[in-house]
């Protein structure tokens, strides 16, 4: 059937099973919006208040559901506004397809109105990007884009469509397969490597599993939990790996790295074997790479061969899909061994050095997060922002479900939490979505409060206001003798009033003794609600391993 490029875009989205589209109109995407209008109700349009918000919402939707997040924006500023969202998804390997309008083919290169070289700009922050030269390429390129976004290590793919192509007519047939030259990632681990892995695991007296984002995003959390339970292997998690939760509580040792638990980092530094699943050994995890896990042999399982040996030398690489590799390993009964001595050692660390904070009169964020953990259901999806709030959430909220923490791990994007929570709620209308943000990050995409109202989404929001850009302030306390340069923001607005102006219920929380009641009200509310909490401005994230230091070098006070 002959149809316009704009209609081809809509039909291709339908072929890919897209039912939710984050989009913002503009001059260069008018034909697509017209086709979406004519299409009616097959695709739900979510219009944010800023393209960056739309991009993060698509990202949050993808993180929470595992589906590809899709957004459409116009050329020039529409496209450039999404670059932070694209970079964010790229760092955390989130599948996105970004469709950007472009000025007509004949105007490209003339500095036309709202022209930006978006394929040039996004080159280093996309898994792949394409500009359409001919309407005939449109459907095959969209097929390729969805395929690439999902396959292997997922990531964002951008397709730039000049507006004249959206009007051009051609025969539409959606290809069954993407035409690609290489890039068929291996699913199974190499049998020889697996044999060695089994032998290493069998011989290990102090084994430790590190679960990374690859476990969550390959939907392997259930299998990883089972693997740890069956073989009695203790497990720790990276920021992106939260959600790992073996049934046996004595096997779980929290987060690791810069703000990991003391016992988690102890486990890393004292293990004799590490099985790293879908981990990229970021600098926030390694501390000092030279002294990371000094006594351990490392088995590194990852779908991306480029991750092997990138940040740390490993003893046994296994290139493969985490789920497939776990399926291969889980049948190997020889791995079983008595590890009770090692578990006891870790248990005593956990008892002697638990996660803790000073309980004085003021309102403590850790206390609030523990209360949230208590009153919100187990399958709550938590979206955190970046900075102290992010680390407290990671430390004090116990994640028991896969894909239940949405956080900007790699790029560290302030302003991520609110739009990501919106995307998650749209993907999972039946689950509670709870957002944590600091006063700084919340204001970076605060306009998306209107999106919550527009679509009547039930999103619960906790703004932890300490009147500072807290994480930087904490570093300034440590490194700059409390010269708080640029980080004081005691002039914050009344967030409760802002929420009410939008039409969202809001509560204020100033005193520790009111915390429990407020949290109960927040959890019980059947529509969106914001809590503006004035927390102790001097509170720090602890424990802490200073940048570049060994994980043994744990600070418990500043």
């Amino acid at each position: 059937m002959r149809m316009s490029g704009a209609r081809i875009i809509v039909e291709s989205l339908l072929q890919e099973g897209v039912d939710t589209l984050f989009c913002y109109p503009g001059g260069s995407v008018i034909p697509v919006f017209d086709e979406l209008y004519k299409n009616g109700h097959d695709i739900r349009l979510i219009i944010p208040r800023h393209e960056q918000g739309g991009g993060h919402a698509a990202d949050g939707y993808a993180r929470a559901t595992g589906k590809v997040g899709v957004f459409i924006v116009t050329s020039g500023p529409g496209a450039t506004n999404t670059t932070t969202a694209i970079a964010n998804a790229h760092m955390d390997s989130i599948p996105l397809v970004a469709i950007t309008g472009q000025v007509p083919r004949s105007k490209i290169g003339t500095d036309a109105f709202q022209e930006a070289d978006i394929t040039g700009i996004t080159l280093p922050i996309t898994k792949a990007n394409f500009i359409i030269d001919d309407v005939k390429e449109l459907a095959p390129t969209l097929k390729k884009a969805f395929h690439l976004a999902r396959i292997g290590r997922p990531g964002p793919v951008l397709v730039d469509v000049p507006v004249n192509i959206q009007y051009d007519m051609t025969e539409f047939a959606y290809p069954r397969e993407a035409e690609l030259n290489n890039h068929g990632p291996k699913k199974n681990g190499h049998p020889r490597q697996l044999k060695i892995a089994v032998k290493m695991l069998k011989g290990a007296k102090k084994p430790l599993v590190i679960a990374g984002g690859g476990v969550n995003f390959s939907d392997s959390t259930d299998l990883a939990n089972k693997f740890c339970d069956v073989y009695h292997l203790p497990v720790v998690s990276t920021l992106m790996g939260h959600g790992i939760c073996p049934q046996k509580e004595e096997l779980y040792y929290g987060g690791i790295g810069m703000h990991g638990s003391r016992y988690g980092n102890y486990a890393v530094q004292n293990a004799d074997l590490i099985l790293a699943l879908g981990v990229r050994f970021s600098d926030r995890i390694l501390g000092d790479p030279q002294s990371f896990a000094p006594g351990a042999k490392i088995i590194h399982v990852d779908i991306d061969p480029a991750e092997i040996g990138k940040n740390i030398d490993v003893h046994l690489p296994i290139v493969g899909h985490v789920r497939s590799v776990l399926e291969q390993l889980i049948g190997q009964a020889e791995i079983r061994n008595d590890r009770s001595r090692w578990i006891n050692e870790l248990q005593s660390q956990k008892q002697n050095f638990p996660m803790t904070y000073k309980k004085c009169g003021s309102l403590k964020p850790q206390h609030l997060i523990r209360l949230a953990n208590k009153y919100f259901p187990e399958d709550t999806i938590v979206a955190s922002d970046v900075g102290q709030n992010q680390m407290w959430v990671a430390q004090y909220f116990r994640f028991r479900r896969p894909r239940s923490l949405l956080t900007s791990g790699g790029l560290g994007t302030m302003g991520f939490a609110l739009p990501a929570a919106i995307g998650a709620k749209i993907g999972h209308p039946d689950r509670e979505v709870l957002m944590f943000a600091g006063d700084g990050g919340f204001q970076m995409n605060i306009q998306e409060l209107m999106t919550i109202k527009r679509y009547n989404l039930n999103v619960k929001m906790l703004v932890l206001d300490n009147g500072h850009l807290g994480m930087v302030r904490q570093w300034q306390e440590l490194l700059c003798k409390k010269r708080y340069s640029g980080t004081v923001s005691t002039d914050n607005p009344d967030f409760a009033k802002i929420a009410e102006a939008v039409g969202i219920h809001a509560l204020k929380l100033d005193r520790s003794e009111d915390a429990e009641g407020t949290m109960q009200r927040l959890a019980a509310a059947d529509e969106s609600m914001l809590v503006h909490a004035h927390i102790d401005p001097a509170e720090n994230v602890l424990p802490m391993v200073p940048v570049g230091k060994s994980l043994d070098h744990v600070l418990t006070s500043i």
Binding site: L123, P124, I131, D133, N181, N182, A306, I308
Partner: protein, 175 residues
């Protein structure tokens, strides 16, 4: 990454000649902090493809990382390392020189010794074409009087692995 264990390596990359491919490859080097000495591109056996020859300074660890990252570029078909000994490597230079102060025959003799050619001559000067491994071209340029050189255009290295067999046949010495 320390600079100490860095040595020169040649990587040959076969890619689809799709729009922006050169930008994709070169931006990769900047983004990952790899130092490129030269990069050349030309049509490969298959008309749709380009063969890039990239010379980098790298230690063994970053060399491995470079190859893996190159493979992640969607249009990459094959990445191969050129063997440091079992290779044929060439560069071409066009050198514009003023007429020498010494007799012209001395200049022509030098060009002959290096198996170069004079490809353009005018009262204002000459253009010399010379082909060979990089050190040979460096040596030739060093032998020219410095102030006689007006401009140099070098292609950068192209290289290909040898047929398997003995190293350094007489064919190589003739080149």
């Amino acid at each position: 990454m320390t600079q100490q264990n860095h040595s020169r390596h040649t990587i040959s990359v076969l890619v689809y000649n799709h729009p922006g491919i050169m930008a994709k490859v070169t931006s990769l080097f900047t983004r990952r902090g790899f130092h490129v000495e030269s990069i050349t591109a030309g049509k490969a056996k298959d008309e749709e493809m380009l063969r890039l020859t990239i010379v980098v300074m790298a230690d063994s660890k970053s060399l491995e990382q470079i190859q893996k990252q190159l493979y992640k570029v969607i249009d990459t078909v094959k990445v191969s390392l050129i063997h440091p000994e079992l290779k044929v490597e060439r560069e071409m230079a066009l050198i514009k020189v003023k007429p020498p102060n010494v007799p012209k025959s001395e200049l022509f003799q030098l060009v002959n010794v290096f198996r170069g050619r004079v490809v353009d001559a005018s009262p204002s000067g000459f253009i010399i074409e010379i082909t060979g491994p990089v050190p040979k071209i460096d040596a030739f340029i060093n032998l020219l009087a410095r102030n006689s050189i007006i401009e140099i255009a070098r292609t950068g290295t192209v290289a290909i692995n040898r047929w398997p067999g003995k190293v350094g046949t007489s064919v190589e010495r003739r080149a």
